[in-house]
Each structure stands twice: as structure tokens, then as C-alpha cells.
Amino acid sequence: MATTSRLKKSPLSAANKGQKTARAALLRYGLPALLLGLPLFLCLLGLALGRYSIPVADVGRILLSPLFPNTAAGVDETAVRLVLRVRLPRTLAALLIGASLGSTGAAFQGIFKNPLVDSNILGVTSGAGFGAALALLLLWPAWLVQTSAFGFGLLAVGLAFFGSRLYRSAPMLVLTLMGILVGSLFGSLTSLLKYVPDPLDTLPAITFWLLGSLASVTWRDLPALVGITAVGAAFLWLVRWRLNVLSLGEAEAITLGTNPTGLKLAIIVAATLMTAVAVAVSGVIGWVGLVIPHAGRILVGPDHRRLIPAGLSLGASFLLLIDLIARTVLPGEVPLGVLTGLIGVPLLIVLLRRNRTGW
């Protein structure tokens, strides 16, 4: 027995070693390639597929046509218009909003030391929902609806944050509680607003907005979305290793040379701006911020140095995929918020089951 096992052992351990270096190489080169390639691939797919399918080669030529007008020669005019006017802004929005929700979810989970929170923990989405509902009720134009959603999103987080400052002890716990309270408050106010309006016209608009959709995204929505998301994501990217230190709690962060209060506030501001602008464009899209960080941890581990990039990439990929499904699989457009829930919840259950090594 003993001899057999010893005989077996050496080739096995050699194989293990080979496996190990192969794994290290995969981690080093394969993972970044995957994280970069997956959203790009889904973008291309998103541009090509839909009720009206366009060959990928044509999509490429169409994308180049604004720079080199001749490349799109011979491609159907409708396809060009469809890709450039409708699908490109929509795909870019899905990419940015998904990236935003995935990465801010990871950041919030980190600073709250809690793997069960997402970007809505401080009430930004609820606030934005109320802001949009109010604007829709008042029949304001679309850009004002977005502005109102953005503004009330920030207001909700501000209320939660400054409300928590009234208490001296356990700041993060009180902040979580305040976030939940403010979120519930705006949820109730939104329900109140849904009770008031014309049920044939305004009420459906409010309801659809609250369910989330990218169907109405146009180029006009993109500058604010691109600008705020890029700046916020860049900040999260820069402080991503520090998030590890913050996730150990305030006291330990202090003894490890980090001022937790200032840095957390900066991260909350960045993540809130990102989430608010995302929600203002797309409406309420739940589950991405909760599910994606978990998927990311399974793929790259809990180190935020890799988790933030993973959150950006997987969040973008997830929302691109969801939007693709919303547009192609089912007749009519299924609201995104519904799909993220329908797909995200089972996915989360599977991930939690698989991820037995803590979070």
C-alpha cells in the first residue's frame, strides 16, 4: 500500500506543479485578456444582433465609417443608421452602466465590510426613482427627468450620510441603517406618487422607468454618462488596493496608515455619482451590483486590486448580455430590471453555493 502511494505521488506532484505554473500563467495573462475581451465581444454581438440582424463584418465597416466614409459603401443604409443611431449608444450605455454597477457594488461591499450590500445601500436608486417619478408626474421633458433622478439620488445618499453623523458610535452600521431608512422613505414616496397620476398615461411611464430600460437611450445621454463613469471608475481603479485595507474596518485601517473617514467619503461620493448617473439614464436596474462582485471573487479572488477590474468587466458583460436578451430572445422588450432579477437571483444562489471559501 505504502509503496504504491509513494510511487503514485511523484508524478502526481509533478503534475501538480505543472498545473500550478499553468494556473499562474492563466491568471497573469488569460484573465486580463478574458476581462478585456468578453465585454468587447458582447458589444460587437449587441451591435450585430436584434430584430434586424447585421453581419459582424458589416458592423465593423459601419463603426469605421464615421472616420473613413468609404468603408460603409455597399452596406444597407438602414443598417448604418440602426447601428450608429440606435444600437451604438444603447450598447455603450449598457457597457458603462453595467461596469458602473458592478464596480461600485464591489467598492460598497468593501467599505461596508459586507458582501450583501450593493450600490443602493445608501438609497441612491430609491432616491433616483422618486426623482424620476416626480418629474414624470409633472410631465417634465426627458432631460429633466434624468436630472431630477440624478439629483434625488444624490440627495438620498446625502441624507443618509449626514443623518448617520448625528450618531457618534459605530458609524458604518448607523450609515447602513440610515441608508435603508432613507431608501424606504423614498420608496414610500414613490408609491405615493404612483397613486396620484393618470393611470393610462403617466402611471405606465413611471412604472416602466422604475423597471429599467435602455430602449430610449440616445447619444444625448452619453456625455454625462461617459464623463462621470470614467472619472468615478478611474478613482475606484486607483484606490482599489486601499479598499482591502478599508475592508478590515476603521480601527485597523487607521493603524495601517489610512484615514478611513476621508477615503470612505471620497469612495462613497464617486460610487454614488456613478450609480446616480447610471440610474438616471437606464432607470432602476437591480441585482447587478450584488451579483457581479460575487462572480468576480470566484474568478479573481477577494483582492480588490483584481476585483475592481473584474467588477467593471463582468458588470459590463452581464448588462450587455441582459440587454441583448431583452432585445432578441423575447417578443417585445422585457424591462431590464425584471431580467436582471430573473437571471441574477438564480445566478447568485449558484455562486453563493459554489463560493464556500468565505466570500
Binding site: K113, I254, L256, G358
Partner: protein, 443 residues
């Protein structure tokens, strides 16, 4: 002078002060042990000293500059804190955890470099966790997590390391490893403040001890002077004794919880299988020698007193010397010597000086006249059935002083049954001298 607390006080809520008027100073190479009961304020004091909390009274100075005027990373490059064991929300690998010790050396947007990883790996090597470095921190044992936190503290490369109960979860060998490492690093100039529940580690490793009691300083100074029986007993609300062990010619103090004195069961002299009963049997071989041994505080003297009482009850003739302790205000302040035949009692030893406490034999002033009297008693013993000598110690065995008449009586075998109190360190010599002796350890 490096780190200094000046009359600091702290309260989480104004009504309940946790620290009151605590002062200490820590110089290069100092190892300061914080001792005190649960809730006495040790962790809060470490929080104030590490900058987590700002004291509500007084100030903490680092190199004569108020600690809160340092920025977070500047401070953390000087002072590190190894916290009590905790479970983080995320399953970082052991190595990632240790790498976080490099945070004060990195910019806000920075991440550890290869050099930082080398420092972390070296720290892991030092605590013996190198093989576990890729394992999730949440999955290793409590002791291993503790070692990982210590490695993180080492990787932080600061001048002052505060440790909150570092050995709480460690096995014997890892405790030793960590304390030896502390000792070695202190020799290289690092300073340590270690909160602990092990007074004996303080007696062995501390250069200074601060004894906290309900947030106030009960004692502060060198361990041998601070960890007295009186102060330890007060700090822990428990009768504590300091005993001395002799190992390799060195005297090592140890604090022990005083046990309830041993009492000989009343029937011990009547049990047929008891060696004592056999010794007093009419057909027993004479002489019979019993060596009564056990660590200080175990109750050797009490045991002898009980034996004398039992023997006298049975009409046995008892002779020899017995040395009960003299207590005042719950403290041992003297040792008497009693001639068991005449029951004459004299004061053998007093504490040297007013302030001295019963810490070391050096602090006892022995009365040479009483020793001479004791020798006289032993040299002129009446006929007896039981000879008691309490005790024969290093003076007699190692220095040819003290109750030498006792040694002569025993060497000559001029007794029927003898009970002699001997401390454990001298047991081998006594047994070599009287090979027929039987050993009894009161429990």
C-alpha cells in the same frame, strides 16, 4: 524617549471613564507588558497609544510631538498595532493580509511592489507561516491567524509595535516563538507594548510592567518590583503568590494562584496502605524518612502542622522545628520557628524594610540568633516518635549554613520517623544523601 502617555484619560461615554490618569513612557528596546483583568482598559489604552482613539484627557507624545499631529501613514510607519483576533468579511489570502502591513509605506493610489512582497514573505517566514501563504486567511486556525497578524505587524516595519493579547490563541511553542522574537527584536531597538493575561510571560520577558485596574494604574515599573503578590492579588481579585523556581542556577519568579491549603485527612495515620501509617506500625523498620516537597505555596508547612496535630492526637511524641508564616493584612510579613517539643515560638525572619513585599528570599531578614537556637533544639532532641524539620533549604545544602544540626541528625539516622520539608530544586541532592527517603507531595 520615544512614546509617552501623559496622564491620559478616555471615556466612550462621559459617564463611564475607561481610562483614568494613565502615564507611561516607552524607550527604545523596551518591552512593556500591560496586565489587568478583562475590561480593565488594556485594549482602550492600546487604541489611544496607536492613534485609533484620541484620549479625552492628557496627551500621547511620540518623540515629544503630540500623536494626533502626525498624519495617518506617518504615524503608522512608527507605530503598528497587532489587533486581537478577528474574522474579516472577505477571504483574503494570508499573504494579501500580510501585504496590507505595507500600506503606510505606499501612496494612497499605490499597490505593493515586488520589494513589498519580499518583505511580506520574509515576515511570513519569521512566524513560520510561509507554507500557508496562499491559503485564505479565514480558513486557517485561530493561532495561525494570530501569527499572520503578527507577520503583518512585522511587515509594517515600525519602531513601536503594540500587541493586543498576541499569545491568546497560540500553542506553547508558538507563544515561545513569538516572545523570543519580541525579545530579539527588542535587542535590535524595537519597542513593544504587549497586553497580556500571562503575568509569567511578563516576569520572563518584560522590561517594564503596567498593571491596570479599572482603568487606573495599579503598578508601573520593572516586573519583579511591580508584580508583587499584593498587587497581583488586588489586580486579579484572587490570592496570588509569587514563587521562585531554580533552573540552571538561575532564579525565575513565577506567579501562581494560591491553592487552598492541603489538609491531611484525619485518618491518614490509620489507613493500612498509607506509607505514614506503615511507618508508625510497631513492626516497621526504623528509621523512616519522608521528604515533604512541592512548589512554594503548595502547602508543605500546613501539611506538616496537620501531621503534627494528628500524631499528637494519637499520643505520639513529636519533636523538631516547624516554621509557620506570619500574616498581617493578608500579606506574609514574617516566618516563625516553633520548637515542637517545648512549643516555644520565635520570630525567624521579617520582611527587610517597610515597603518590601514577599517577593524574594533576599528580602527576608533572618535572625541569626533564632537559627542558632534552632540548631540547639535539633542538637538536643528529646526521645521522639516523629521528628519534623521545616525546612532544610539552600543554606544548609549549598552553603553549609543554617540548620546544620538537622543535617547531622538525619545523616546519623538518630530518629524513628522524620518528616523534612525540602523544596523541589533540592530534592535530587536530598535523595542522594538519604537514599531510603520517601517523597510526599502535598496536593
Amino acid at each position: 524617549m520615544k512614546l509617552e502617555a501623559q496622564n491620559i484619560g478616555f471615556a466612550y461615554t462621559p459617564e463611564v471613564p475607561v481610562l483614568h490618569d494613565v502615564s507611561l513612557s516607552l524607550a527604545e528596546g523596551d518591552v512593556l507588558f500591560l496586565l489587568g483583568r478583562n475590561g480593565s482598559g488594556k485594549t482602550t489604552l492600546l487604541s489611544c497609544l496607536s492613534g485609533i482613539q484620541r484620549p479625552s484627557h492628557g496627551d500621547v507624545l511620540l518623540d515629544s510631538r503630540s500623536l494626533h499631529t502626525y498624519n495617518a501613514s506617518e504615524r503608522a510607519r512608527r507605530i503598528g498595532l497587532i489587533p486581537q483576533l478577528h474574522t474579516p468579511a472577505f477571504a483574503y489570502s494570508v499573504r494579501e493580509m500580510v501585504l496590507m502591513g505595507r500600506a503606510p509605506h505606499l501612496s494612497l493610489f499605490g499597490a505593493p511592489s515586488a520589494a513589498d512582497r519580499a518583505i511580506a514573505d520574509e515576515a511570513l517566514e519569521n512566524v513560520g507561516l510561509h507554507d500557508l501563504r496562499e491559503r485564505p486567511y479565514t480558513e486557517i486556525s485561530g493561532g495561525e491567524r494570530q501569527l499572520a497578524l503578527i507577520a503583518r505587524g512585522l511587515a509594517q516595519k515600525c519602531d513601536i509595535l503594540l500587541m493586543d493579547e498576541p499569545s491568546a490563541h497560540l500553542d506553547l511553542s508558538n507563544q515561545h516563538r513569538v516572545l523570543e522574537m519580541v525579545d530579539q527584536l527588542a535587542r535590535q531597538g524595537l519597542s513593544f507594548i504587549i497586553s497580556s493575561h500571562a503575568p509569567n510571560n511578563a516576569l520572563s520577558y518584560a522590561s517594564r510592567v503596567l498593571l491596570l485596574h479599572r482603568g487606573k494604574v495599579l503598578g508601573y515599573g520593572p516586573p519583579q518590583e511591580t508584580l508583587t503578590e499584593a498587587l497581583l492579588s488586588k489586580a486579579y481579585g484572587l490570592h496570588t503568590e509569587i514563587i521562585y523556581e531554580h533552573r540552571d542556577g538561575q532564579e525565575q519568579a513565577r506567579a501562581v494562584i494560591a491553592k487552598r491549603p492541603f489538609t491531611l485527612p484525619p485518618a491518614a495515620l490509620d489507613w493500612p496502605d498509607s506509607p505514614l501509617a506503615q511507618a508508625f506500625a510497631p513492626d516497621a523498620e526504623m528509621p523512616q524518612l519522608f521528604l515533604i516537597t512541592g512548589l512554594s505555596g503548595v502547602g508543605k508547612t500546613t501539611w506538616c502542622g496537620e501531621l503534627v496535630r494528628l500524631a499528637q492526637q494519637r499520643g505520639l511524641r513529636v519533636a523538631g522545628l516547624w516554621s509557620p508564616a506570619v500574616f498581617a493584612d493578608g500579606r506574609k510579613v514574617g516566618i516563625d520557628m516553633v520548637d515542637l517539643h517545648t512549643e516555644e515560638q520565635r520570630r525567624l525572619a521579617c520582611l527587610r524594610g517597610k515597603e518590601a513585599t514577599a517577593v524574594s528570599t533576599i528580602q527576608w531578614a533572618f535572625d541569626e540568633e533564632v537559627i542558632a537556637w534552632g540548631n540547639h533544639v535539633l542538637a538536643h532532641l528529646p526521645d521522639n516518635d516523629l521528628l519534623v524539620i521545616d525546612e532544610l533549604g539552600p543554606l544548609e545544602f549549598l552553603r553549609d549554613e543554617g540548620l546544620l544540626a538537622g543535617l547531622r541528625v538525619l545523616d546519623a539516622g538518630a530518629y524513628r520517623v522524620a518528616a523534612v520539608v525540602i523544596r523541589p530544586s533540592l530534592l535530587p541532592e536530598a535523595q542522594a544523601r538519604w537514599p531510603h527517603a520517601q517523597v510526599i507531595t502535598p496536593r
